[in-house]
Structure formats: structure tokens, C-alpha cells
């Protein structure tokens, strides 16, 4: 059976932005898959421990029985295996690919984790203040990058949702949850005009449908976590 035809399973949970990335990529390529819901509270499943012995974390894509781990690695895998099934997720040009990978790495380094940690109210006053600063600085840089990379088109990827859209878009649920929890506007149209409009477009995109959790859902999740 051709690689693309084998059975696809995804171990994950709804709140995880990393899982969201994989789901969006699968949707973009029209791939049918079984979502194996991993309990966030409680013991990790046998399947997860077996499939990701190194990190024991979600998401894990299991394709034809073989596991692939790390969200951005999985997204690139999906792009390559189902190349014929949908628009390319990564750009074709090597320099454009390098730029997309650079910003995706930046997002995972400076933006995403800060956003989630702040929403979870982790750390003391000083570290939270620093995280917020880093977050705003990052949003500024991304807003500028979007201007340059998109070339006036709707997404970082151009006309269609691409790698960098997925990398950042997957955090939008958490960004909005943070806005609610802190009572601040992060994707402020006056401060980050391009990013704010992009966020609306991304959340309305077909591939993102039902993937990005509503802020209330995540706020509830945060409350549950706080009680454990």
C-alpha cells in the first residue's frame, strides 16, 4: 500500500497547541485519522509511553503503526507524505523555507511557551513581567515579519495556510485565553494591525475549524489544572 494510504492515528488532547498543529496539517491535506484522546490528568497511556519513549509527550502521529514525534517534525512529515493531496505547507524555495523555519523556531522559543506559562499563572511577579515583555516584543517582530513574508497576501504562507501560519496559529486559543485571564488585549489591532487581521482569517480558515479551542474552554482547563 502506498505510504499515503496507510492508517493514521493521532495521540493528543484538545488544549495542546502542539496537537492543534498536527490536526490543522492533516485537515489541510484531507487526511482521515483516528484521534486517540490522551488524558491530561492521570497516567500516560501505554501507547504514548511506547510511541514516544524519549519525551513521553503528545502529539504523536502513528502512521501505518510507525510513530512520529515533535509537532513541527510531524507537520513536515505530513507535508511530504501527502504532497499530492493538498497545497504545500512548506514553501518551495529554500530561502523561504529557512525563513519559515526560523520564525517557527522563534515562536517555540520566545512566544508560545511564554503565552501558555502566563495563562497558567506560573512564575513569580518578576518572571511574569519579563515573560509579558518578551511576548509583546515577539508579537511586534512577528507583525513586521508577516508584512514582509506574506507580500500583501492573506497568510504567512501566501494565499493558503502554511507552515508558519500553523506554527503560530496553533497558539491563538491560548493567546485569547491569556487575554481573558489577564484582562488585556494582546492581538491589539492598533499595535499589531497585520497580526490581528491575520488571526481572524486563520481562525476562520477551514483547516482550523474546530481545532483552536475557544478561550472559555481553555480558561476552564486552566482552572482545572490549578486545582490539581
Amino acid at each position: 500500500m502506498a505510504a499515503a494510504g496507510k492508517e493514521v492515528k493521532l495521540i493528543g488532547s484538545r488544549p495542546s497547541p502542539y496537537v492543534a498543529r498536527v490536526r490543522i496539517a492533516l485537515h489541510l491535506k484531507g487526511v482521515e485519522y483516528e484521534f486517540l484522546h490522551e488524558e491530561v490528568f492521570g497516567n500516560k497511556s501505554e501507547l504514548l509511553l511506547r510511541s514516544n519513549p524519549v519525551y513521553k509527550k503528545i502529539p504523536v502521529l502513528i502512521h501505518g503503526g510507525q510513530p512520529i514525534c515533535e509537532s513541527l517534525v510531524i507537520v513536515q512529515y505530513i507535508d511530504e507524505v501527502w504532497a499530492a493531496s493538498g497545497p504545500a505547507i512548506l514553501p518551495a524555495d529554500p530561502l523561504d523555507r529557512a525563513v519559515a523555519r526560523f520564525w517557527a523556531a522563534y515562536i517555540d522559543d520566545k512566544l508560545g511557551p511564554n503565552c501558555v506559562a502566563l495563562a497558567l499563572r506560573l512564575g513569580d511577579e518578576a518572571s511574569r513581567a519579563e515573560s509579558k515583555e518578551q511576548l509583546f516584543a515577539g508579537l511586534q517582530l512577528l507583525d513586521e515579519a508577516l508584512g514582509k513574508i506574506s507580500n500583501g497576501k492573506s497568510f504567512f504562507g501566501g494565499d493558503a495556510v502554511g507552515f508558519l501560519d500553523i506554527a503560530f496559529g496553533s497558539y491563538l486559543g491560548w493567546l485569547k485565553a491569556l487575554e481573558k485571564v489577564e484582562g488585556i488585549k494582546l492581538l491589539d489591532e492598533s499595535r499589531f494591525p497585520r497580526l490581528a487581521k491575520w488571526a481572524e482569517r486563520f481562525c476562520s480558515a477551514k483547516a482550523a475549524t474546530d481545532v483552536i479551542p475557544e478561550p472559555d474552554e481553555l480558561v476552564e482547563f486552566v482552572k482545572l489544572l490549578a486545582h490539581r
Binding site: 524519549v54 502512521h63 512520529i68 515533535e70 513536515q76 529554500p94 530561502l95 529557512a98 526560523f102
Partner: protein, 221 residues
């Protein structure tokens, strides 16, 4: 800057990240201009080429900068595919290669450098962590010649610069890679027989001296 033809590399001799790029360029036989950066006095070009991190290595190809060593290696592989690509052709093996390169990136430098920065209880924790990392890599390597199998590839390039740091791990942490991970030690020796690696990796003694001076600067003594 754009429109200027050729390949430039902004780098620092002791940087394992820079060494990765030098090895990758050498493997592809790409000619380039090497610029040694003074980390205490970064050049205009570096600040302009990597405004986000202001760090080396930066590859400047026909005037356009590419930053972050793993991203640079993949860029080099894509622009100059040649006979031997750094990643396998089948998507699953490719995903495994990227996974392990990412693992090395997340774990080795951070833990390795904590080893010579910390003392006491914290250092003991760090030692345990580093041994765990080394053993994990040993398991992944198994009996293969390279992490990439028969071909020297992405994972090998990502890890091999740290071979010059094995002496530092021993000197400051009492961790012998030879003892903890004999296959890994043998792999490192095998890699050093490649011209690209032999010409690029600094003498472990020099790295040791470099760490001594870093410790002084950080006030660790």
C-alpha cells in the same frame, strides 16, 4: 547587501553551532568567505544579518542571511543537494533524523555547558542528566556506522562538534564518554576521519582552555 554574490559565514572558532555549518559546507564542497566574529564586539554585518538573536553562525548567501545552525544545514542541503544529501529520501527516516537533530539541539549544549557552570548538588543533577543524554544517543546509534546509517548526515553533523567537548565533560564532570557510551566514542573517532570534520573540529585542549576562560568571565571558580 542583496545582490552580492557568493557565500559568507559569520562565525566564532569555538562555537559547535558554527562548526556544524563549516562541516556541512565542506561536505558539499562549497567555497565560502569565513568571518571570525569577536563576541564582545559584534560586527555591523552580524547585527544587521541576525537582528533577532545577534548570534553566530549566520550564513549569507548572495547577500541574503540564513540564521540558526540546524536551519542553515537544511538550507545548504536543499540548495546544494549534490550526490549525498544530509537527510534520507523517505519521509519516515527523514522525520526520525529531524527528531534526533532536534533532541541533540535541545539537550546537549545546554546540559553540557551547565556542567562547567554549576557546583555541588546542582552539578550532580546535571551530571546525571548528561549521562542520560549520552546513553540515549548511544541507544539510538546502536551498531550503525553513522546516525544516518551508511551515510554521514544531519544528525551526525548536529552532534559531532560536541566530540571536542568530551574532554571538558571529563575534566569538569568526571564523565567519560568512552566509558558511558563506547559506541558513541567510536562513532566520534570514525567521524574525525572525514576531512570535513578533521579540518573543522578544534583540539579538545583548546576547547578546555576556552572553557577555563569562560568560567573566569562568568565568575565560576
Amino acid at each position: 547587501m542583496a545582490g552580492e554574490k557568493g557565500v559568507k559565514l559569520l562565525d566564532f572558532w569555538a562555537s559547535p553551532f558554527g562548526q556544524r555549518v563549516r562541516i556541512a559546507l565542506a561536505e558539499k564542497g562549497v567555497e565560502y568567505d569565513y568571518h571570525e566574529e569577536e563576541l564582545a564586539a559584534k560586527s555591523e554585518l552580524l547585527l544587521k544579518s541576525n537582528p533577532v538573536y545577534k548570534k553566530i553562525p549566520v550564513l549569507i548567501h548572495d547577500g541574503r542571511p540564513v540564521c540558526e545552525s540546524l536551519i542553515i544545514i537544511q538550507y545548504i542541503d536543499e540548495v546544494w543537494p549534490g550526490k549525498n544529501t544530509f537527510v534520507p529520501s523517505d519521509p519516515y527516516s527523514r522525520a526520525q533524523a529531524r527528531f534526533w537533530a532536534d533532541y541533540i539541539e535541545k539537550k546537549v549544549y545546554v546540559t553540557g555547558s551547565k556542567l562547567w557552570k554549576l557546583k555541588g548538588e546542582e552539578q550532580e543533577e546535571c551530571k546525571k542528566e548528561l549521562v542520560e543524554i549520552i546513553k540515549t544517543l548511544e541507544r539510538e546509534l546502536g551498531s550503525k556506522k553513522y546516525f544516518g546509517g551508511e551515510s554521514f548526515g544531519l544528525v551526525d553533523i548536529t552532534l559531532v562538534p560536541f566530540a571536542s567537548w568530551f574532554y571538558v565533560y571529563e575534566a569538569f564532570g568526571g564523565i567519560s564518554v568512552e566509558r558511558e557510551a563506547p559506541k558513541l566514542a567510536a562513532w566520534a573517532k570514525g567521524c574525525k576521519e572525514r576531512e570535513s570534520v578533521a579540518k573543522t573540529l578544534p583540539d579538545p585542549e583548546k576547547v578546555y582552555e576556552h572553557v577555563i576562560s569562560l568560567r573566569k568571565r562568568y565568575g565560576v571558580e
